[in-house]
């Protein structure tokens, strides 16, 4: 491990030297890059059941506009082509083939959705075009041996689930655990990780209730879970349902140790509608800064982000974490392309993406950095636990990383 890390740092410094002498180095281009522009491809759900995530695409689009307004990357403008796949994997295959074969993009960036990315993964690796920083928390995107052209971005659900389990076992006496789970890959990944974290204590789970995204409410599930007499509750739900669960739990006077996934940690979208008084003591894991959180509001990077929002996305709701997410992932892509210098080939993009050493991306929590290597395709692997207090998240403990993924 040490040797590989050392050779790795050598590689990075060599790359730095090379980019420093970029003016003399020969320019090398693959499809999607010229002296004047860099083409990036993206597919996301602007219509259909997951269209709430469409704002991520809009954020990224705005980000590249701001980069281009500032002169582009090493003198090249970014041409960001984003297409609607309606969260339908069959459609994703179609639009991605258009991006790769007709538009000839340099790489795909932050394509959204686990099924959609699964549908194109094999194709992208056959074509040897990078599929970078995909927007899904599934744990299967960091397999450089099988899929050297695919890389994830955010901490995966599996890891987060493990972290909750460990905290729960250490802090809740004689736990009886009830779980509410959205019945899809997102929910299952969490439960899998959580069970892994419990280890021999899996039998402490007394009930697992599921719901479908199309359900109107989860109230009956919450009542069922309370009736088991559980004293700990894991809330694996998307924002609307997470808020319903918090409210219902308070209404029926249940007081479990409440763990809620990061997906629903937004104050504006979940905790405020659920009621601050009902949300006290909930524990979640964080990796993005919440710009509405009072402890961060005055940080320079938050102010920069806020000014950027005002200029490029004036209609955007600053309470929607997706805007922060889109900003951070674009920042990382921006840095990756900068580091590529004049060697804008598929291979070099992938190489640079796999060469980050504790790189700090603004709007990630203090202490959380991006690290990758040719064998580590998980850019962000750390989270910090936070407890809801008064009207905001109070971070506690250390930044925690997954031990094995």
């Amino acid at each position: 491990m040490t040797t590989s890390r050392r050779t790795f740092i050598g590689g990075v410094s060599a790359a730095a030297v090379l980019s420093g002498t970029g003016a003399f180095a020969q320019k090398k281009y693959d499809n999607g890059a010229t002296d004047a522009e860099i083409k990036l491809g993206h597919a996301g759900p602007y219509s259909g059941p997951a269209s709430a995530y469409g704002v991520i695409g809009k954020t990224i689009e705005a980000y590249w506009k701001s980069v281009n307004d500032a002169g582009g990357i090493n003198g090249r403008k970014v041409n960001f082509i984003t297409l609607d796949d309606g969260y339908n994997p069959a459609k994703t295959v179609e639009v991605v083939r258009q991006l790769v074969e007709q538009d000839k993009v340099l790489c795909l960036f932050n394509t959204l959705g686990t099924p959609s990315n699964t549908a194109i993964q094999k194709y992208m690796n056959q074509k040897k075009v990078p599929q970078l920083y995909v927007a899904t928390g599934a744990s299967k995107w960091g397999k450089p041996k099988e899929f050297p052209w695919t890389m994830g971005y955010q901490p995966d659900y599996n890891t987060e689930g493990q972290i909750y389990a460990r905290h729960l076992l250490a802090n809740v006496k004689d736990p009886k655990i009830a779980i509410l789970m959205q019945n899809d890959d997102f929910g299952k990944d969490y439960v899998e990780g959580f069970k892994k974290g419990l280890g021999d204590n899996v039998s402490k789970i007394v009930k697992l209730a599921t719901y479908e995204v199309t359900d109107p409410t989860v109230e009956s599930q919450i009542i069922q879970l309370k009736d088991t007499g559980a004293n700990a509750f894991l809330n694996i739900a998307t924002p609307k349902f997470a808020a319903q669960a918090i409210r219902k739990i308070a209404d029926i006077g249940w007081k479990p140790a409440h763990y809620m996934t990061n997906v629903s940690a937004s104050i504006a979208a979940v905790l405020k509608p659920a009621g601050y008084e009902n949300s006290q003591g909930i524990i979640t894991a964080y990796y993005l800064m919440d710009p509405n959180d009072k402890q961060f509001v005055d940080l320079p990077e938050v102010k920069t982000w806020s000014a950027w929002m005002d200029k490029y996305l004036p209609q955007g709701n600053k309470g929607d974490a997706n805007y922060v997410y889109g900003y951070t992932v674009s920042y990382l892509m921006h840095e990756t392309l900068k580091r590529c210098g004049d060697t804008l080939t598929h291979e070099n993009v992938m190489k640079q993406a796999a060469s980050f050493q504790k790189f700090r991306v603004p709007m990630l929590l203090p202490g959380i950095t991006v690290s990758t290597s040719p064998t580590d395709f998980y850019p962000i692997q750390s989270v910090q636990l936070a407890r809801f207090k008064d009207e905001g998240w109070a971070l506690f403990g250390d930044v925690m990383s997954a031990e094995s993924t």
């Binding site: 297409l83 994997p89 069959a90 295959v93 099924p115 699964t118 549908a119």
Partner: protein
């Protein structure tokens, strides 16, 4: 509506066979991507044809054909994934499975007419993606993760690309299915199907076993759409419940109505339309925003909707019906002045 002239049909088939071979000569025009796009159009055309047999020729409305499409796709995918069945052998199995599912669904549907049937099929379209995720079936269907497949490769070392091969494979299947549908519709059974659509009671009185015909038509229609689904599993090389949401049914219905209800040619045009317009609507909406610089952020579906309304206004009988009426009108105009001259006289008589 008249049948498509045979001479033209042969020309089109010849073109369809030759054009993909021009890929080495015209690599930009005949690219792998375009061939793939045409393949998806043909798959859509087969699915729309299936729906047309039921709705256009037999008068039963279905909003549930995405369900049969999904069953076909999953049948093919599971056979390829679990049992290593070659891709071409999955088609007959998918057809039989979907026929049975369609036939069984057709039985209770006998009691439902018009809007009620539409609602029942709607429920089917909503239920199937959920059933595919069900935990008892998960080992088979892969649950929400779906099943990743391999694309069919050209056999015997034929020097074709995967997409060229896929194109020919789907083209041959489509031609066979159209030929079969055409023969069926021009037979006694086909006339019985249409008689039921036109006047149910009269058909019954004439001695047609209406319930048998209706359920069998349901089965055949489902089988056609199921084959389209199986082909799509090969073409996309991936199946997941999210690919078969209710909106797919609506797309088939749009293809059907736009192409022409009760017309075989219309089904093909409908299939082409729905792939083409779906894609160009997006291009058009970006064009309006970025290139024209208009301050409208039209979503692709807004453009799609506007196009659809315009089209329905101009061609209420679908594209085939519209073109047919246009040709008739042109022919009448071509026949000369006397016809036109006689009209004012007729109008005069009315007063």
């Amino acid at each position: 509506m008249p049948a498509f002239p045979k001479k033209w049909l042969l020309v089109i088939i010849a073109l369809a066979v030759v054009i993909p071979l021009l890929k080495p000569v015209l690599p930009d025009l005949v690219s792998d991507y375009r061939l793939f796009l045409v393949s998806t159009m043909m798959i859509a055309a087969i699915a729309v044809l299936g729906l047309n047999l039921l709705t256009g020729f037999n008068g039963q409305i279905s909003l549930g054909h995405s369900a049969f499409y999904a069953v076909g796709a999953y049948t093919a995918a599971i056979l390829m994934d679990k049992l290593d069945v070659p891709y071409y052998a999955t088609l007959p199995v998918a057809a039989v499975v979907c026929f049975i599912v369609g036939y069984l669904f057709g039985l209770p549907a006998l009691k439902l007419e018009g809007h009620y049937l539409a609602l029942a099929t709607f429920a089917l379209a909503l239920a199937v993606p959920q059933i595919l995720k069900y935990k008892w079936l998960e080992d088979l269907t892969g649950g929400v993760q779906g099943i990743v497949l391999s694309k069919p490769e050209p056999p015997f070392g034929i020097p074709l690309s995967e997409d060229q091969w896929l194109y020919y494979y789907i083209f041959v299947v489509m031609v066979i299915l159209y030929w079969a549908a055409n023969n069926m519709l021009n037979s006694r059974s086909g006339r019985a199907m249409m008689a039921i659509r036109d006047y149910h009671i009269a058909a019954d009185t004439m001695g047609i076993d209406t319930s048998l015909y209706k359920t069998v038509t349901f089965g055949i229609s489902a089988a056609y759409t199921g084959i389209a689904g199986a082909l799509s599993a090969s073409a996309i090389a991936f199946v997941a419940p999210d690919s078969f949401n209710f909106f797919l049914s609506i797309k088939f219905l749009i293809g059907l109505v736009v192409g022409g209800v009760g017309s075989l040619t219309g089904s093909i045009i409908g299939g082409i339309f729905y792939v083409l317009v779906d894609n160009s609507a997006q291009a058009l909406s970006t064009f309006v925003k970025n290139d024209l610089g208009l301050p409208f952020d039209l979503s692709a579906y807004t453009v799609f909707g506007i196009l659809l309304i315009v089209l329905m206004y101009l061609m209420p009988m679908g594209i085939v019906g519209g073109v047919y009426i246009l040709i008739r009108r042109l022919q009448r105009a071509g026949r000369g002045a006397p016809a036109a001259a006689s009209r004012p006289a007729e109008a005069g008589k009315g007063h």
